[in-house]
Symmetry: C4
Subunit: 267 residues, 4 copies
């Protein structure tokens, strides 16, 4: 491996060294700027006034991202693995829309995919305790996935039935123009969002809607209960940091005197 390649690898892929942290931070700022510019471009008044500035800024950022992508492929040990990795695909998607816009109109909007690059922030945070915390949240969500699937499926069935009943009760003249629209209303109501773009007008419709909202009360309690129960389990289990001297297993209870994996004494 060339010394310069080795050096670049440390800068771009590692985040423990000072220059690696600096690179990650600089990259994050460029990503944030790029998202900000895409946003501002969509505001007609700003676009009219700063059109040239925004166009130039966009191309500078596209070139930076392109260079970064090429360098990453060049220095990484297994280019194919990087290209098809989660971050590799996002990095490519972040530059593609700008080039596509040269040939096709209306692909500018795709640039929003750059927002996904924000997820890189978690790499930067890897070094401190943020990662541990996000791991707790993700683990709680993952371990509740079966419960949440069952719950979501139940909600889906409920929403189809409620939506159709309201379509039959209220009818097209009150905004419930089709069953899918009735289901949309049912979701808006059950989740307590309640836009009010469609709302029951007849007495029977309002009575049924009240029932649905009261049911929604109980229903919104379920996912909260599931996630809370998981988070409570983990937080109360908050394990000791001891590592078994024999089998190197971790995650022992605070009051454990012997390793629960191999039976060795914990000190």
């Amino acid at each position: 491996m060339l010394p310069i390649k080795q050096r670049l690898y440390e800068v771009i892929f590692e985040a423990d060294t000072r220059i690696g942290k600096f690179f990650d931070l600089a990259l994050l700022i460029v990503i944030l700027l790029s998202i900000l510019f895409v946003m501002l471009e969509s505001v007609p008044s700003i676009e009219n006034k700063y059109h040239d500035f925004l166009k130039i800024a966009e191309w500078i950022i596209t070139i930076i991202f392109s260079l970064e992508y090429i360098i990453r492929i060049w220095i990484v040990r297994h280019p194919r693995k990087y290209i098809f990795s989660f971050y590799g695909v996002i990095d490519l998607l972040a530059v593609l829309p700008s080039y596509l816009a040269l040939f096709f109109a209306g692909t500018q909007g795709l640039m929003v995919i750059r927002a996904l690059r924000l997820l890189r922030i978690f790499r930067i945070l890897k070094l401190n305790r943020y990662l541990k915390e996000s791991a707790v949240i993700i683990r709680a969500l993952r371990e509740s996935r079966y419960k949440i699937s069952v719950f979501l499926f139940g909600v889906l069935t409920l929403v189809i039935i409620i939506g159709t009943v309201m379509y039959l009760v209220e009818g097209a003249e009150h905004g419930f123009t089709s069953i899918p629209r009735g289901i949309y209303w049912a979701v808006v109501t059950l989740t307590t969002v309640g836009y009010g773009d469609i709302s029951p007008v007849t007495s029977l419709g309002q009575f049924l809607a009240s029932m649905v909202m009261i049911i929604g009360y109980a229903i919104i309690a379920v996912p909260t209960g599931i996630v809370t129960a998981e988070l409570t389990k983990h937080s109360t289990k908050e394990t000791s940091t001891q590592v078994c001297p024999e089998c190197l297993s971790e995650g022992h209870n605070h009051d454990a005197k012997y390793c629960s994996e191999c039976g060795a004494k914990l000190n």
Copy 2:
């Protein structure tokens, strides 16, 4: 029992064999398609364009469901028991509306009852851990039923009083045309749905509404608390039932191989 009856019984009523699973899956897809078609039929633009296709599809599905229903009655050991069972009634209700529509207009909408057939998915899921999870949710909801009843009754009283007070304060000119409508508003507000189709206009009304919303804050916390407390109780109970053969201590983790109290091997 005829061999063909025996064979069909395994296919239709059992879900452990490969062909049984396949039948359940195929049935689920037909149910989903049937619901999709009922939905699409309610959308005027689609109905106008694909009227013939949707009509034919509907009749094919009705025939499939009818055949399935007849075969189920034929092969089951106790037909009467099946017919009056929960799924038996739903299976009948799923085919009735199509035949009724031949004689009576406007009964098409009843076809939504087919959505209830979606609940069959739980039979297919019976084989994996989804059922266990849904059992936990259902048990938590069932064990909280007294608390939730008390809570719902309290909410009902509250909603009647709030709705009437707002009817008196705001009056018909601001949308509160009757006490039931006031109660509808109170439910919409307390559950934090907040359509905005009826909202207070007078200063006193807005002040009272603010009070109601703050109360709603505390109130929405109650069902969440009830369900969470139940779910937490069950999830913390989830230790293994193993007892250490040496020191007889309990509450070991499911994956523990050695007692964490005395180091003895757990079997």
Copy 3:
């Protein structure tokens, strides 16, 4: 005490005997009917059609309630104590509006106070486990009262500041006509009710509103957390039904071997 007085006392004030239960149930039905009639009277279309029926029904119910009130005073041992008790005041308030309406117009609406009589249902439920459950909820709410007070005070301060800032930012032309109205908007937003009768229009206002909603996210979690923590505490404490043979104290932990009050052995 006259035998008839004694008999009436058992019927009206006690709920353990069969006739006592029957009286409570009949009274509950009359209360529900009376509330239903007050509601229906407020609906213009029904009032026009069934005016006479509703008037007569109202007077019959008023006479029943008046008789009941007089009998209660007559048979109770300490009339003064009953008159000024919680239920005594409600019982009086339930009949007053009808008589007042003879002399003053517009006092009809006060009849809604009868809804408070619904709380009598808790007396009927006293006999089964509903009371125990409502006691758990009330205890959880009462024990969280300090935490909830602190929380409500914090929310009050926050809502005043947010409401004023939005009043300054959006101004009267966008619906924020005064600071109290701004505070009303802040309450509607923080509690996630979101009517949409007043909503920010300027970019700065919408940015600030987004911040407020994100803050509201964290804030709505607090009362839920408080109530859940209380309910969890009580439900995990769920004590054994053992009574100490020495000091008759109850509420021992399930794993207690000795009475925690007097040190006697529990069997």
Copy 4:
């Protein structure tokens, strides 16, 4: 230190003595009145009617606050420390707007900063158990700060992506005039506020919105779960710190007099 300075110090800065408590209470009432007057001044109808009264009241309160501020600086041991402390800055900001309004128009609104003086109530409450409770809430929020940061960052990324997608799907003609406005809609929807000032109109938009709301379901469960888990951890820790002198077991109830493990007397 002069005796009068010493005396004033006790009155103004200490809250244990009777006169100190009285001063704090009086100050609180003046603060509440001042906020009330600022509010009322913003209501056009009241301002027109009571303009003179409100102006005079404002100046009396400004003079009281100014005097209090000067006395505080005079009597405190380290004036510089007080001036740059949290409460010192708020006390200054509470009087500045009135003086500024003499020279510049439109600075009246800044007076809302006085609402921050309400936080002084926590000093008055310091003496009773409110502080302990607010400490529990603040500790729970502080200990969840990493989890909440990770969560808020995740929500931010999600909101940017959802907002842009909806901007592309719905477009300017349905209210989604720019990406920032789309993000505003995403926040309004995910937090279940749901004003309805912007809501999807196209079928695809409504389908995506339904997805977002269902996701919002799971998402709103996360902060609740985090805060609840923290609060539960603290509340379940609330056993007495007593250790049994005989068997050294811990975790006894606060009101236990004898060890529930071995029956020994607890002191």
